[in-house]
């Protein structure tokens, strides 16, 4: 006969701990994860209490169900609407799934002539030895255009969230930067020497990957990410004064703008013609040379510039709230 163990003793065993965690009785991370409250926040306890009471009173007024019968109706409607929305979405998705072709069947729409055509005619059509680049920057160039724009929009969003426009006084960009890097070793000799040796090679490798995107593995995105990482290393070693000599918000604006608009002018016709190809008139050149395969090389450079700027801008915005 099994005997009943008291709850506390049961909680010490793994099974019991798991069940308590599942039912929400205890949180194993509570008090263990090392997130600390910001210093100086709990000084004004009276102010905090006042603020809490205010919030509670507002909630009590807004959700005064006893005196406002229409709230009850609204809540019922809210629950019913939520249920109906969820059920409709579930049924729609399930019906769609029922129409999907079986997994692994030979006559699935994915197994068509497109893949074979890309592999067979890729070199003649695009002039790119690296089929992947030929595909993403020639056949499906408008997809890559969308991706570059996504990066630009991501930077805009981070800019909206993290931008610090204050020039002087408390909470200004300079003070924020000072507070942020106050406990870091400044002008660290080891980091600076390592960066001095590594950064040129990292950026050179990034440029190599971008320029050889149509010949060897890689391309705009990989090369741009490498250059961005190199710039971040340089920034960490030498600080904002050095990087701001060549990279400011103005630089970012103009580089991104010109790269994206060049891409747009070169490839946005796909939105009107569909996947049909327009003859660019640029000779494809000998396959295997750097200057070959038409528009792929300039487009690769554009994507690389956008990606590198985005990476650097993210880090600068996180650290300082501007660059």
């Amino acid at each position: 006969m099994s005997r009943l163990i008291p709850e506390e003793e049961y909680g010490k065993k793994p099974a019991g701990a798991f069940r308590q965690w599942m039912s929400g009785i205890r949180d194993p991370y509570l008090g263990n994860v090392e997130v600390k409250a910001r210093a100086g926040q709990d000084e004004n306890e009276e102010l905090l209490k006042e603020h809490q009471e205010e919030v509670v009173s507002v909630i009590r007024k807004v959700h005064d169900v006893a005196n406002n019968s229409q709230y009850i109706l609204f809540r019922k409607f809210y629950k019913a609407a939520a249920l109906i929305c969820c059920l409709t979405l579930t049924v729609m998705l399930l019906v769609t799934v029922a129409y999907l072709p079986p997994v692994g069947s030979a006559d699935n729409p994915a197994h068509n002539e497109v893949a074979a055509k890309y592999i067979e005619d890729g070199l003649q059509d695009t002039g790119a030895v690296n089929i992947v680049t030929g595909m993403i920057l020639d056949y499906r160039a408008f997809d890559t255009f969308g991706e570059s724009n996504v990066l630009f929009i991501a930077t805009c969003t981070v800019l909206i969230l993290m931008r610090n426009d204050k020039k002087k006084g408390k909470g200004s960009a300079e003070e924020e930067e000072h507070r942020d890097s106050f406990y870091e070793p400044k002008a660290d000799k080891i980091l600076q020497t390592a960066a001095l040796i590594l950064v040129p090679f990292i950026i050179l490798f990034g440029i190599y990957v971008i320029l050889n995107g149509h010949l060897s593995p890689g391309g705009g995105f990989s090369g741009g990410a490498i250059i961005g990482a190199g710039l971040i290393l340089y920034l960490n070693a030498f600080g904002f004064e050095k990087t701001e000599r060549f990279f400011t918000a103005k630089t970012y604006k103009w580089v991104s703008f010109s790269a994206l608009s060049f891409y747009c002018i070169a490839k946005s016709y796909s939105f009107y013609t569909g996947a049909h190809h327009l003859e660019s008139g640029i000779p494809l050149g000998t396959a295997g040379n750097i200057l070959s395969s038409g528009l792929i090389l300039p487009l690769n450079i554009c994507v690389g510039l956008v990606v590198a700027c985005t990476m650097y801008a993210f880090f600068a915005l996180f650290r300082k709230g501007g660059f």
């Binding site: 991370y29 263990n32 994860v33 090392e34 997130v35 600390k36 910001r38 210093a39 992947v132 942020d180 406990y183 990957v209 593995p217 890689g218 391309g219 995105f221 990989s222 990410a225 490498i226 961005g228 990482a229 971040i232 990476m311 993210f314 880090f315 996180f318 650290r319």
Partner: protein, 86 residues
């Protein structure tokens, strides 16, 4: 080579589990970095070196650095606090 791949895959799973169960946020990020590094080696073994380059630069490099910057912003690094106390 097959055995090497299996070892890498086991490491990958161990890293993925350890990230969510590590109680120090700094350790979590370091494990996440090693996850990306193992993943980039696996990409090379799967014969897609372009993805390997991107994974190493973005996953192990830029993302982790952004995580570190965020940890500093939300005051979750213990070292800094200890220095303050001394």
């Amino acid at each position: 080579m097959q055995i090497f791949q299996y070892i890498l895959l086991i490491f990958l799973v161990v890293c993925a589990i350890a990230v969510s169960f590590s109680k120090r946020l700094l350790n979590s990020i370091l494990i996440f970095m090693s996850y990306s590094l193992i993943m980039s080696i696996i990409w090379i073994l799967l014969e897609s070196p372009d993805l390997a380059i991107t994974e190493a630069a973005v996953g192990a490099g830029v993302t982790s650095v952004l995580f570190f910057a965020t940890l500093k912003k939300i005051h979750a690094m213990r070292e800094e606090d200890e220095e303050k106390d001394e």
